[in-house]
């Protein structure tokens, strides 16, 4: 699902105004300047674009960009498989 991952990265870069080159798996959300409002803005954009709903506690174990992206990918893929 490399295409989906790429699409999500583009969406995050656009929505959170972060340089795409910085969006690498090891970066922490703090490094990226992705605060709670930024996270919810991204969640909102993903929900609108893919018609999914992301639970409020979906990111409780997220500490870096890789795991953040994995949660979003998982939600979209689950919806597509349904």
């Amino acid at each position: 699902m490399a295409d989906l991952r790429e699409e999500l990265i583009d969406l995050i870069a656009e929505e959170a105004l972060i340089d795409k080159a910085k969006l690498v798996p090891g970066a922490t959300l703090a490094d990226l300047g992705l605060d709670s409002v930024g996270v919810v803005s991204v969640v909102f954009a993903v929900e609108e674009k893919y018609g999914v709903e992301i639970a409020e506690d979906a990111f409780k174990d997220v500490n870096d960009f890789g795991s953040f992206l994995a949660v979003l990918e998982g939600v979209v893929e689950t919806k597509r498989a349904a």
Binding site: E14, E15, L17, V37, V40, S41, F44
Partner: protein
């Protein structure tokens, strides 16, 4: 007692239906390129069918223009009404030579006026809530909707750290913003003020609300014309940099005009009907303060909304204030070109009028059928007319009876 500090204009910026940038806006007005057109605003599946709505909208790439000006991505982080303030602020500060200047750190005020707030964001949010029954609102809804969003965006962008806030008085909002900025300079609290306003209310639901007032034309805006039947809404923003004369001179800034009269009044009378007394009081105060009632030529940038009542009242007020010289003063009404920018109206007309005075050309009033004999004024019609004005009077009379009149003197 020492005489009050003199105040001059050193920077102008604008985005409007006439163009992106102050110069493009001026050229559109000068060349009589009217921007009021019939639109169909689709509010989605939960709204009633669209219908013909005259309005003037920004047709260029506002986001791209603004991102290029400020040199960074903005994306969807700002409501259009904040975006419409940011670009003009950059343009005005750049012309004034004040980008990253030390004076912004403390002795600069920033006051912008808006009749409304982030209406685009609000309508999209409401559609999601009431229409789609969405359970969550976008996390930036509040910072995008709040009426102080534009001043915060501008302050953050340019690091303006003096008094910063928004003011609101419907169609006179940016007139009050300019007056408030001038007061900060006059009192000595600030040396510079970034003032103006913005408005972005060409949205499906908001325009229906305006139609409810029975003040909107079903076709277009025809100021001082027989057969005029109301106003047309426009969108945009405009910003001026004003500063103490000695501050501008000490740093060798190019002076564009002097703000030499400020007249404010309230009718305390009626929501939508104008009052002769209120208009005369504001205009008279501004003109007396500026000392321009001695027969000199004054370019009058009228409120000129194209409603039957406003234009008749404003013509009577001009006659009352100018007396014998009233029929000789060139009168313009640029809302016929860019529509009524409500909270940004005074500021956009200020930018156009100041360039007009410097260029010695008065832009024409558009959409005229035949001059109304009840408004016996020297209306500039047809094409731009050469003028030699020593000053400009800029009128704004808001719903709710809130009036501002500003006088700018030509600077030689």
């Amino acid at each position: 007692m020492t005489s009050p500090r003199r105040i001059v204009v050193t920077g102008l910026g604008a985005v409007s239906p006439l163009g992106l940038g102050a110069q493009a806006t001026w050229e559109g007005a000068r060349d009589g390129r009217g921007a009021i057109r019939i639109h169909h605003l689709d509010a989605g599946p939960h709204a009633p069918d669209t219908r013909d709505t005259p309005a003037a909208v920004i047709e260029g790439d506002l986001l791209g223009f603004t991102e290029t000006l400020v040199g960074r991505k903005i994306g969807a982080s700002l409501d259009p009404f904040a975006l419409m303030a940011l670009g003009p602020a950059q343009e005005a500060l750049s012309q004034a030579g004040l980008i990253r200047a030390e004076v912004l750190e403390d002795r600069t005020a920033l006051v912008l006026g808006h009749g409304f707030a982030g209406i685009h964001t609000l309508e999209v949010g409401y559609e999601r809530f009431f229409g789609q029954k969405g359970t969550r609102m976008h996390p930036l809804t509040v910072p995008k909707v709040m009426v102080s969003a534009p001043v915060s965006a501008v302050a953050i962008e340019f690091k303006i750290r003096g008094p910063v806030f928004a003011v609101s008085s419907a169609c006179a909002s940016s007139g009050h913003a300019i007056a408030q900025g001038a007061a900060f300079i006059r009192s000595g609290e600030c040396d510079v003020a970034v003032v103006g306003g913005s408005e972005a209310i060409v949205t499906p639901c908001c325009l229906r609300a305006w139609e409810g007032l029975q003040a909107m034309s079903p076709t277009t805006c025809r100021p001082f014309s027989l057969g005029r039947d109301g106003m047309a809404i426009g969108e945009g923003g405009a910003v001026m940099v004003i500063e103490a004369l000695e501050h501008a001179q000490a740093r060798g800034a190019t002076i564009l005009a002097e703000l030499s009269g400020v007249g404010l009044s309230s009718d305390a009378f009626h929501w939508t009907q104008p009052s002769l007394d209120g208009a005369v009081k504001a205009m008279g105060r501004a003109c007396e303060q500026a000392g321009i009632l001695d027969g000199q030529t004054v370019l009058i940038s009228t409120h000129g909304t194209g409603t039957p009542l406003n234009d008749k009242n404003e013509a009577a007020a001009i006659q009352a204030v100018f007396g014998e010289s009233a029929p000789r003063q060139p009168v313009i009404a640029t809302k016929s070109a860019h529509g009524h920018l409500i909270g940004a109206a005074t500021a956009i007309q200020g930018v156009i009028g100041l360039i007009a005075m410097r260029e010695g050309l008065a832009p024409p009033i558009l959409n005229m059928l035949e001059p109304d004999p009840e408004c016996p004024l020297d209306l500039v019609l047809g094409e731009a007319r050469p003028i030699e004005a020593q000053a400009m009077l800029l009128n704004s009379f808001a719903f709710g009876g809130l009036n501002t009149a500003l006088v700018f003197r030509h600077w030689r």
